[in-house]
Amino acid sequence: MTDQRSQAEIVRQSLKRRYRKERRFRLYGMTAIAIALLSLVVLFTDIIGKGYTGFIKTTMTLEVVLDGEQMYLDDASDKDQMSMADFQAPIITALQKHFPEVEERKDLRELSRLAGSYASNQIKDLLARQPELLGTTQTMEFLVHDTVSVYVKHADNPAYSIRLSEQQQRWVDELVEKGVVDTGFNDVFFSRGDSREPSNAGILGAIVGSLLTMVVTLVIAFPVGVAAAVYLEEFAPQNKFTDFIEVNINNLAAVPSIIFGLLGLAVFIGVFGLPRSVPVLGGLVLALMTLPTIIISSRAAIKSVPPSIREAAEGIGASKMQVVLHHVVPLAMPGMMTGSIIGMAQALGETAPLLLIGMVAFIVEIPDGFFSSATVLPVQIYLWASSAEQGFVELASAGIMILLSFMITMNALAIWLRKRLERRW
């Protein structure tokens, strides 16, 4: 009796400690989840914080006198003259109007550096299009130089002003006050390809490149993946070769993506002689990479079609192929599509294999076909992130936001499809 009581006593005494342990264990779990979620939050806020300025452009509106004498130009329709003319001069003059006190050559040069390097091209293009404008005064909007843009966008942070001289900073401050330098929505970013100058670089080229690449990937991976899944689930005999195929698929799903880049380099470029850095090549490599994902999810979808459907179809005399093509595949289609969209979203974000097959080239033009050199969104982000200039860093994070929004849209579409079309049997 006494013995038992003391046992109960021992248990009761230890209870407090054990409950404390229990609470501590729970706390560990919560901390782990908090760490994971916190990283997610930090990641997103960091990228948005760095990148929202990428959606802003800084422009400078100037009254430009298209003075032929100053530009050494008397006929704007003459190509030879146009190639020799000095289109920088009118910009300097226009800027000087705001700062009449600046006269020294050195200062003037500093002043002219406030305008972006493509400003003179803008005048040239205008004159090439409308030669009759020579001699008139035009109000034109120019992109400012990248350093100015960074300075204006981060006016409250002195760390971003180091690349402007104090005099330049004063000028910019004054121009901002006068409303000459202004910020607005960065339409350049959405309408151009890459550029050496951050303020002149856009992401459209990469978006189009990604789109073309994804089309190739989808056209190859979806039908092949579905067909492979149908074969393995419905037709494959139980033998060694079928096992071998299955082992291969499972292993391919776990092969590091960069290995697919080596495959592309050695086989598609080396053996078949496909050109480098074209969407067809990128699409092919990504298709091989996505294939296991699509096959695995398609098989799961086919498996979930109840046997009663098959039996009913066979019962009224359908052949095996008819059962599969008329009943099983259509019923499994939503599941297959969901898996494929998720696989495509992965492919859209994939970078490493594309680096090896030359999709890292600096490409200004927006690709116009499956065989024109192109880059894709994640590679463009990589390229911008690896250049030191502040202007490119914000473009990289803006690009990340666009990439992520594409991926979130695709995943949302997959979830919607699953909710909408998938039947529970």
Partner: protein
């Protein structure tokens, strides 16, 4: 005619073949009392015609397009006069690119020897001839196939069986693509690897402790040999992966435990997708985050407590990689924890154990093999991960265990060696393939072992 234009053309011919055969099958059915007296439905006769038309044409087209570039190139190189004939592969690629550029009009013919211009003309002519041959052959095949199938639209022939058998074959080929891919991977790395070992002895590669693949342009330059010892790369890879696993395993495992044992249903429904978002973020985004936010942060932090840290520390890359594989560990652990039979749990709880005691003493030991498998898979992920380390880890192959130092990894070196212009034959380029082969072997071994463990564990409770 371009391959891209031939594809739609074949499609059009196939559609015409389909339509004509469909009409013919109805026509032959007419006198014998309608389509019910045919062996197969008109659709199958038509589909068979379309297949007969498209498949041979497409196969020939694919083969031709795949090899014409190579064949023409070799022919053109062989046609070069003896004094221009390339002595090495490097020279050959140089001359070839000259020829290509002249042919494409990118290079002014006056800058190159006349033989090259001649070769460029030859290249152009050959390309044109090849294109017209290809178009003729493919169209001929398509039309012949369609015509043959059209004549075979006869009531006693069971077209359905033909069509179904063909489809089965097509499905089989699609499934075999996975095998072909593996074969392709193995062969693409194996050949170059053997060529690499012809230049650099395998023992030096495996046991050398110095890695500096810069082979000099001139033979008399200092350090012209280059060193290809893989040890520093392996230790670098292991260091970063170890840091990643140190983050991912505890966090992932404890999250999985909390989610499966403690979290309420609504909390689980919210937290799980959020965790999985971490897995969906592209690696280039993590790389950006590691290189531009975490690495400077760690450097400043280390400096503030008086330590010296590289701005490309292994720690930054490892931490961020750890975050990336958290959802991987947690969802795999979640699966295995949920696979432990409820009876074990109930038994332990009924004996008066608390939930955490049940977890630690009953479920965890039971789930351990599965969890180990998951960790191995995560390790293989970490080893093969590229973008984070390319962007956040350094290029210098330091043999160090200091996480604040800069290290390089196998994947970083593959990317560095293979991006930019390169000749296909130098030890530098070939080294990348040897590294790729090592990477493939290691990750494959890890995956095979991990999958075996996981499967064995599943069978235990099924």
């Amino acid at each position: 005619m371009q391959t891209a234009n031939l594809l739609p053309l074949i499609l059009v011919i196939a559609v015409i073949a389909y339509g004509l055969s469909y009409m013919r099958s109805r026509a032959v059915a007419e006198p014998i009392g309608g389509i019910r007296n045919l062996k197969a439905l008109p659709f199958y006769y038509a589909a068979r015609a379309a297949l007969w038309c498209a498949i041979p044409a497409l196969i020939v087209l694919a083969l031709w397009a795949g090899f014409e570039g190579k064949v023409i190139q070799n022919y053109v190189v062989a046609s070069l006069p003896a004094e221009l004939a390339p002595e090495s592969d490097g020279q050959a690629s140089l001359i070839l690119s000259q020829i290509n550029n002249v042919a494409a009009g990118k290079l002014d013919p006056q800058f190159v020897p006349p033989e090259v211009v001649g070769a460029a003309d030859l290249l152009d002519a050959l390309k044109q001839r090849s294109a017209s041959f290809k178009a003729t052959l493919v169209i001929l095949l398509a039309v012949l196939g369609a015509a043959y199938a059209w004549t075979r639209v006869q009531p006693h022939i069971n077209a359905r069986e033909n069509v179904e058998r063909t489809l089965r074959w097509i499905f089989f080929v699609c499934a075999a693509v996975a095998v072909l891919t593996t074969v392709g991977i193995v062969f693409s790395v194996i050949f170059e690897t053997f060529r690499f070992f012809g230049k650099v002895p395998i023992t030096e590669f495996l046991f050398g402790t110095s890695w500096s693949p810069q082979t000099a342009l001139r033979a008399d330059q200092v350090g012209s040999d280059g060193a290809f010892g893989i040890i520093p790369l392996f230790t670098g890879t292991l260091l970063i992966s170890a840091i990643a696993l140190l983050v991912a395993v505890p966090v992932g495992l404890l999250s999985a435990v909390y989610l499966s044992e403690y979290a309420t249903r609504p909390a689980r429904a919210v937290i799980k997708p959020l965790l999985e978002m971490l897995a969906g973020v592209p690696t280039v985004v993590y790389g950006f985050f590691a290189a531009l936010t975490v690495a400077p942060f760690i450097r400043d932090l280390a400096e503030s407590i008086g330590l010296e840290a590289s701005s490309q520390s292994a720690l930054a890359a490892g931490l961020v990689m750890g975050v990336m594989i958290i959802p991987f560990v947690s969802s795999l652990s979640d699966d295995v924890i949920n696979a432990v039979p409820q009876t074990l749990r109930d038994g332990s709880l009924a004996l008066g154990a608390t939930q955490s005691e049940t977890m630690k003493n009953v479920i965890f030991p039971a789930a351990l093999p599965g969890i180990m498998g998951g960790i191995l898979l995560a390790a293989s992920r970490a080893i093969g991960e590229t973008m984070i380390v390319v962007m956040a880890a350094g290029l210098a192959a330091n043999l160090t265990a200091n996480p604040l130092d800069s290290v390089t990894t196998v994947t970083v070196q593959i990317v560095t060696l293979l991006t930019g212009d390169q000749e296909f034959d130098s030890a530098k380029t070939l080294a990348a393939f040897a590294l790729g082969m090592m990477l493939f072997i290691v990750t494959l071994a890890l995956n095979v072992v991990a999958l075996k463990i996981v499967r064995k564990y599943r069978e235990q409770y099924d």
